[in-house]
């Protein structure tokens, strides 16, 4: 696992070196901050994906939950009152957490396949976001909220701090706590974990709620960056997030996951996108490149036993 992560880190650095040679603005402080800022949304979702997939699950609803929680938050808040920002934040986060918990209860309690439950939630949350907002983006958010997306503290954009701080906490949670160990144990062998006395239901509710919460955080960052809550935002983000987590060494069949890996995976995608934009590579080619990196990473991983299929 460690070898694999060293490897993808090397891939990330090689990509950086390549783009640094081809573009003289790539390795400027401003651009590095750009990359981290641009990665923060997908990065948060990828962290969630590492937890859920590592525990043998899957969450396809996070892109929709981003939009749904953001829209719900701004719709309930009274227009530009002083309390509106904390209220919006609270409602956003609560919405994501709650929707995720519903996913988790259905998957853990009713023993339904995660793919199907979260696919359903993908559709439900998107639909509700469109219904609540009447299909129209809500423009002009309160100043305090916009500051979260556009503001800087000590020269560092707030989304970057949120991304790195969340990553730090999540890395400890997954790698150093009983919660993390048990989650991965469930992903490795659910029956054995159950026999060992791990309360599967409680863990699944918590894991999907966590994924929903991270999606809501991503939704808050996304809307505050563009100063609009858009019901159609975050489409297909779930796939990008899953891609990032897998590049980062999370095994799609569960049992193995790494938060730091997922963050590196998200950064690889961010660097690719940023670098190719700077190089003026047409958008079509960028999609091809992302696909190649995903498949290449999993191929390397399989050789190192990270992405090995369970027997």
């Amino acid at each position: 696992m460690r070898v694999y992560q060293g490897l993808i880190l090397v891939i990330l650095l090689l990509l950086c070196a390549f783009f640094a040679i081809t573009s003289d603005v790539f390795l400027t402080w401003a651009n590095v901050l750009n990359i981290f800022t641009a990665t923060s949304t997908i990065g948060l979702l990828a962290i969630g994906a590492a937890f859920v997939i590592g525990a043998g699950g899957l969450d396809l609803s996070v892109g929709s939950l981003m939009a749904f929680s953001a829209i719900t938050g701004v719709m309930v808040a009274p227009e530009s009152s002083t309390t509106s920002v904390p209220l919006i934040l609270f409602v956003c986060l609560a919405t994501g957490l709650f929707a995720g918990a519903i996913n988790g209860s259905l998957i853990g309690g009713m023993k339904l396949p995660a793919f199907i439950v979260t696919l359903g939630m993908l559709s439900i949350a998107r639909g509700l976001a469109l219904i609540f907002s009447n299909g129209r983006p809500v423009y002009g958010l309160p100043e305090g909220l916009v500051f979260l997306g556009q503001g800087r503290i000590g020269g560092v954009p707030i989304p970057v701090m949120v991304f790195l701080a969340t990553g730090f906490v999540a890395h400890i949670l997954l790698g150093r706590t009983r919660f993390g160990r048990h989650s991965l144990a469930i992903g490795d062998n659910e029956q054995a974990s159950c026999n060992a006395g791990i309360q599967i239901f409680r863990y699944k509710v918590t894991l999907y709620a966590l994924s929903g919460l991270l999606a809501a955080m991503a939704g808050i960052l996304s809307m505050s960056r563009v100063n609009a809550a858009d019901p159609s935002s975050g489409m297909m983000y779930e796939l990008t997030a899953i891609t990032a987590a897998i590049i980062g060494g999370t095994s799609l069949s569960g049992g193995r996951a790494s938060v730091a890996g997922a963050m590196i995976g998200a950064l690889i995608m961010g660097v690719l996108q940023n670098g190719m934009t700077l190089m003026n590579v047409p958008a079509y080619y960028q999609q091809v490149a992302v696909g190649i990196v995903l498949i290449a990473a999993v191929t390397f991983g399989k050789c190192r036993g990270v992405h090995a299929s369970k027997n």
Binding site: L13, T37, A38, G135, V226, A228, S233, M235, N274
Partner: protein, 315 residues
């Protein structure tokens, strides 16, 4: 693991400090929408060809889905680093580029809207001065559609776009305001720019009004949906007019399935936007905000005569 991660961060930041900032002077950046849509692909081609003709460097960024407001903001931030003399942008919505354009404005970069997606007053309020906007006049697109039908008599079905969409509202307004008395609108319904929804509306209305003579749809996708519904209902007496001049629509017109389309000319739009942006970046001579691009009524006769100068911009 943590150590490797930290070391990597340190490595990147060191490199960062070691690299001096250099900027490419004199290029123009263009932020456009989703190029899997032929309209934007044509516009992209127009930008590239014009840049070649003018001998200037252009950096075009396209987003991967038409609603990816955040992705476009990221591209705008990247574009800014190259210090372009002008940014031509087709914003996903009225405000998503706000923070980036404010920085651009502060750097003295000329800002030019393409395709008319910017709200000038809102932009000014955000501290963003947009020099001018190069776009089709949506009211005129509707008016031309009405002119095409004027002089005839009969019942019309109007298919509107997405509710709340400004271009859709203006096109329908232009159409209705310019329509002759002899033509009666029997229904005006929204189909969200969607082919299938338009087809459903048409199927419903032709049962209700078997004597329907005309259909006006606020874009070609819906017009083509209407054409399919008419064919399914075995009706060939209804004339259908759309807007946009899309590749599909042109094919349908040549084959006699669609009656007419009022074409926007994205290639010409790109050409004019880039030429004007280049000029403005040089001399800063103010232009009036609305820079309308010519539009063209396309029907079978126009293609058969083939003597319309603007046809060269139809792709």
């Amino acid at each position: 693991m943590n150590k490797i991660f930290l070391a990597a961060l340190l490595f990147v930041s060191l490199l960062t400090l070691a690299t001096p900032t250099k900027a490419e002077q004199g290029s123009i950046a263009a932020l456009i929408s989703d190029t899997s849509n032929p309209y934007w692909k044509t516009l992209e081609n127009g930008l590239r060809d014009t840049a070649n003709t003018l001998g200037i460097q252009i950096d075009i960024s396209a987003i991967q889905s038409a609603s990816d407001a955040e992705g476009q903001l990221n591209q705008c931030e990247s574009a800014l680093l190259k210090n372009p003399k002008a940014i031509i942008f087709a914003a996903v919505d009225a405000v998503n580029l706000g923070s980036c354009l404010r920085k651009a404005a502060a750097k003295g970069i000329a800002l030019i809207d393409i395709d008319g997606n910017v709200d000038q007053q809102r932009a000014e309020k955000m501290g963003v001065h947009v020099a001018f906007s190069v776009a089709s006049n949506n009211v005129e697109l509707g008016e031309k559609a009405a002119s095409y039908l004027n002089g005839q008599k009969g019942k019309i079905l109007v298919i509107e776009g997405m509710s709340g969409s400004q271009p859709g509202i203006l096109r329908v307004k232009g159409f209705k305001d310019n329509l002759d008395k002899g033509l009666t609108i029997v229904a005006s319904q929204g189909a969200d720019w969607d082919r299938l929804k338009a087809a459903d509306i048409v199927s419903r209305i032709v049962t209700q009004h078997p004597d329907l003579s005309f259909i006006f749809a606020a874009n070609d996708t819906m017009a083509l949906g209407a054409v399919e519904a008419l064919r399914a209902a075995n009706i060939n007496t209804v004339k259908v007019v759309g807007i946009d001049g899309s590749t599909d629509a042109i094919k349908a017109i040549k084959e006699g399935r669609l009656t007419a389309s009022i074409a926007q000319l994205p290639y010409l739009m790109a050409k004019e936007a880039l030429e004007k942006a280049n000029q403005y970046a040089k001399d800063r001579k103010p232009l009036s905000f609305e820079q309308y691009v010519p539009i063209l009524t396309l029907d079978k006769a126009v293609f058969e005569k083939n003597n319309e100068a603007l046809l060269q911009y139809v792709r």
